[in-house]
Subunit: 259 residues, 2 copies
């Protein structure tokens, strides 16, 4: 599996992805799932992918081929709006799946689908995030739903639901994405390090930071330890049951002062 | 959906469950998913259920009928070991599914399966927890895996993975179960209040506490607020990125002292 998350706050966009792929438990590899197409000062796109790796690679190859072809009718270089980019990438994805399916034997049950997140900004437009379904259609993020997830998304959702607001600073959104990835890696071995992170501040029209964080990269190691300790101390601060009154006078007195 | 969790620590067992059932989004109801069979001083069993509600109710009715029948060859009153109880409940579940399936029309795709957690203690034995699959077979908890979940289990798993250890006091295990339920309810509307909680201390051979907690029950309201605030302050305490150095001298200095 895979876990990718993209967050849109007022200050810009954050993208994060794990790098573990598996075609069975004895065929686990590391692949980049965060792909940047940057035309600095003009337009920037980031694609996150979850699903069939061959389909994903076919989509990326197609996007690059169109970029290199001056005669291409549509490409990431010439789409007018972010929504047009999402529709274009969706059409490329559907074509990649169809092309492979046409060569598949009857009864073959390989799942060719890939789900993508496309985010970025075109000069003169708002930054935007889209989740592109395997069917090629898409949904955008919104102020009420300022993040999009693909892949193994449930473990890392509660922290996003609690923390992410459009007013959150971009670096806090990035930290929250890392915590969301870390929680997922702790609970599901199909999602694994290193973690890729990219930050696209509003109107910068270039990716200002890309990080690849392994478990022993100081930032991620510190963040994991700090989060684990802070969570345990948060847990210890929770209110007591009635019947614990007599056993825990000290902490209860503190609770009463806080009330 | 449903979310139930049972935790085994050295001090005993904790059971928690939501109460929301749905047969479609326009047919949402509240049902008890935590069922206690207590023979105080001798043996106590708790059953948690996730899946087809009719199958679950058929299983519970069968268990009660066997208890009321002095001639029953096997019942929760006379099983010798906790594992025997789990096998018996599994067999009852398989029978309930088969009985209904026998009356179903060909091509009917209703999912009759139910997944159960059985926990408890029989005098002279260790407390034990079993997850009973729809197929009737079961797995037990272990010191390395001291909790079992059924239903919508992913959202609430990270906090269990971080906090639950066999050495944890029973009340802390109960608090962790409540946090796990609360996180799930925040991220998934198919899991909903009130929450049922039951505690079975080791060798008590009776349930010492059962609580039904709604969102406005003071304990749950306080716990939700305290956890939300503590999480946010945990989040704010996380280490900064390198490039934030100049912007956040104060907090970085504090980080350096902590190192």
């Amino acid at each position: 599996m895979t876990y990718c998350v993209a967050i849109k706050v007022n200050e810009g966009l954050v993208f994060a992805a794990d790098t573990r792929t598996s075609a069975g438990v004895d065929d686990v590899r590391t692949y980049n799932k965060l792909h940047v197409f940057e035309f600095a000062g003009e337009r920037v796109f980031t694609v996150l992918s979850a699903g069939n790796l061959a389909t994903t690679q076919a989509v990326l190859a197609h996007l690059k081929r169109d970029l290199d072809d001056p005669a291409a009718a549509v490409s990431l270089r010439n789409v007018r709006h972010m929504f047009d980019a999402a529709e274009y990438v969706g059409a490329v994805s559907v074509k990649a799946q169809r092309d492979t399916a046409a060569h598949m034997q009857l009864g073959n049950t390989v799942d060719l689908r890939t789900t993508l997140i496309l985010g970025g900004q075109i000069q003169g437009e708002e930054p935007a995030l889209y989740l592109i379904y395997p069917e090629g259609n898409c949904i955008s993020s919104s102020p009420e739903t300022p993040y999009l997830q693909i892949g193994e998304s449930k473990y890392g959702k509660p922290i996003l639901d609690r923390v992410i607001r459009p007013s959150l600073p971009l670096e806090d959104a990035a930290r929250c994405a890392l915590v969301s990835l870390d929680s997922t890696m702790k609970s599901n071995i199909s999602v694994g390090p290193p973690i890729d992170l990219a930050m696209l501040p509003r109107d910068a029209l270039r990716i200002t930071h890309t990080l690849r964080l392994d478990l022993d990269t100081p930032l991620l190691a510190q963040l994991r330890e700090a989060w684990g300790q802070a969570l345990m101390s948060a847990f210890r601060s929770l209110p007591r049951f009635d019947w614990e009154m007599s056993d825990a006078q000290g902490s209860l007195l503190r609770d009463e002062v806080d009330d």
